[in-house]
Symmetry: D2
Subunit: 210 residues, 4 copies
């Protein structure tokens, strides 16, 4: 019996579905996670390219949009255990080029850009209260890396009881083994996987019904 069969037999892998008030979350699409010399590589450039039409769609239908960045204090005052496991993270200071959102996905006024120091976009941030203030019931997750900050954010999003969508071609990772392994875990237990095209089509349908 292969892994997928074991999960199927135990009743995992059902759909949690799409609600009626989605928000788009773009996790750590910053220069440093796009640069293979820093924390990037793999299929992250493709994920960035693919997220452009999805972001345009979210803006068109008026869905709330949130970008996250990893940012540590210039003087290292808030460096913790994560910076012991991966010391280079400490270069992600507020004004560093590596910490800025990639040009392809520049935020516009009114979109929420939040700084975080831990993998999950929810940890030590105001993301959950921002989502509540917007009446959101569904979180659409894109970003980098699939096996890192996307996975951690998706587990928290589901734990907060947001229906959670992982856009399979809008998330990327520096290495493809962990990318695939984490898509499997998330689909089985925490989120529904949808392609970018399927997600756009679902968002357009919602708009029409409103």
């Amino acid at each position: 019996m292969n892994d997928a069969n074991i999960y199927a037999k135990q009743g995992f892998g059902n759909k949690s579905g799409f609600g009626v008030r989605p928000a788009l979350l773009l996790i750590d699409f910053v220069n440093g996670f796009n640069d293979p010399k820093l924390f990037g590589g793999g299929n992250i450039p493709q994920a960035i390219a693919q997220t452009q039409p999805l972001l345009a769609c979210a803006r068109r239908i008026g869905a709330p949009v949130c970008f996250t960045r990893v940012v540590y204090a210039q003087d290292g005052a808030d460096n913790g255990v994560f910076c012991l496991k991966a010391p280079k993270l400490a270069i992600l200071t507020p004004d560093a080029h590596a910490s800025q959102i990639v040009d392809e996905l520049t935020p516009v006024a009114g979109e929420y850009v939040l700084n975080k120091t831990q993998p999950s976009a929810f940890f030590g941030t105001n993301l959950v209260n921002w989502l509540i203030s917007k009446g959101v019931d569904t979180v659409i997750a894109t970003g980098a890396t699939t096996s890192g900050c996307v996975r951690a954010s998706v587990v928290d999003s589901m734990s907060y009881n947001f229906r959670t969508i992982v856009v399979s071609d809008c998330v990327g990772d520096r290495a493809l083994g962990p990318h695939e392994a984490n898509l499997f875990d998330m689909q089985q237990k925490y989120a529904d996987l949808m392609t970018c095209a399927e997600t756009i089509s679902q968002l357009e349908r919602l708009k029409t019904n409103t």
Copy 2:
């Protein structure tokens, strides 16, 4: 370049180390996660057996011990998105046999047994404040499943800045692919992997130094 090389080149996989005040965390070692007909199987029975000497050691040196269980209300009042992805979880009611800690690892008086509804042992629980009240700086994680509640708890433990140890032979999963993939992710980014024997030896050394 293989996955491990990519991570090494980007500066991941360093050790965060062991502090001086560890606590032992036993995640979801309940009957339902040991029963292959429910949510168990794979190498979970071996993890339970292996955790027995580690628990005995923690008790011997007086380290704080915390057990977690997944528990939902009898009437389903707190079922959420997790129960949409895996509907059978809703059988884990307070008095169900499936929700009780396995006999091999029965808690004793003064040990903390907490109920949770989400993957992470920290989400919606008093685990972080309990650890603070005990002055803990290091969390030793054991339990089931490696790719589920252990992974989610370890990410949060690291995010709270506890030095975090995953005891590689005291965690288990229903399927071995996700078990291995998640050990890789955790070791690279969130925690140090140690065997049960190494962990016991480290704990005994701490005791001697006190």
Copy 3:
């Protein structure tokens, strides 16, 4: 210039208003907080009496209902700093009479009854994810005590961006000075005060509009 004038001049005391999807929160209406020999007294009995028609109204219109209790482990494993400040709290064990919801406000199947160990109903509990799962935008707070668990819960409710209503005659306290002082603080900064009659009228109006 009196206190209210100072707040008015600085722009406090505006209304945050009522949304369209309210939940009713009954905080610590348990025997121990109704018994003047334990933690009760003052105007708590009147608040309990007054909350009965409000609870009936919430049930009639199908608003989600959540009760909280303070509960500590029988063996004291989770006693912390709060139990240093007020050691008698440790008697509030799961089966103690003092920890049970008062007879006048007995929960029915499907209503959420949560245990907590700290003042806020949100701290270390699944309240925020339960509210999200119900699509709630407005929290209606009742309970005991005004200056303790009600105040702490209301600050968190507002911080999570729920529009928050304190039902002024459905909250009570062991002593009237702190009751009044905390109503003032909450009305100025965190919540709107409404009487029970006004709240029922608002809920009935919502129902009609649905």
Copy 4:
């Protein structure tokens, strides 16, 4: 029976005490909370003056120091219910003069300066994980306002099981009634009150014992 007697009879008002690893927390000592035309006034200037020797002492003995500021996005993207209750808060943007720490208490390199949007210094911030990373067991609270952000932060500090000290002459409020009422509540239930002189003396004693 007066209020204090009622609390005494029910077993409140005990001391939670001082641990061995304190941190100093300076809450919202920013220009806007010192300016009576914005959110200041009352005894806040005295609290700022009184906090100077305490900050000097914390630096001398090497205790971790954290400053908080209230900061909202320039474009209002993260304004929520708090800004409905008190709309002027939205002027506290990152570069506004009103949002900067007062000159008398300027942070030095390595001290942690955190931004928050809600009353509690813990809500949506990395304060708890920063405190854990420093091994802190005791939080010494100073700042403004006593009835607002100090009170909310103290309740959370206690809930996280930090022994919590409110330095009675280093906290201030725009109006004295709420200042006094909240000192009473905190002393009865959440924290020990100490004067600045007592706190400095306790910190010096700790240093000597180390």
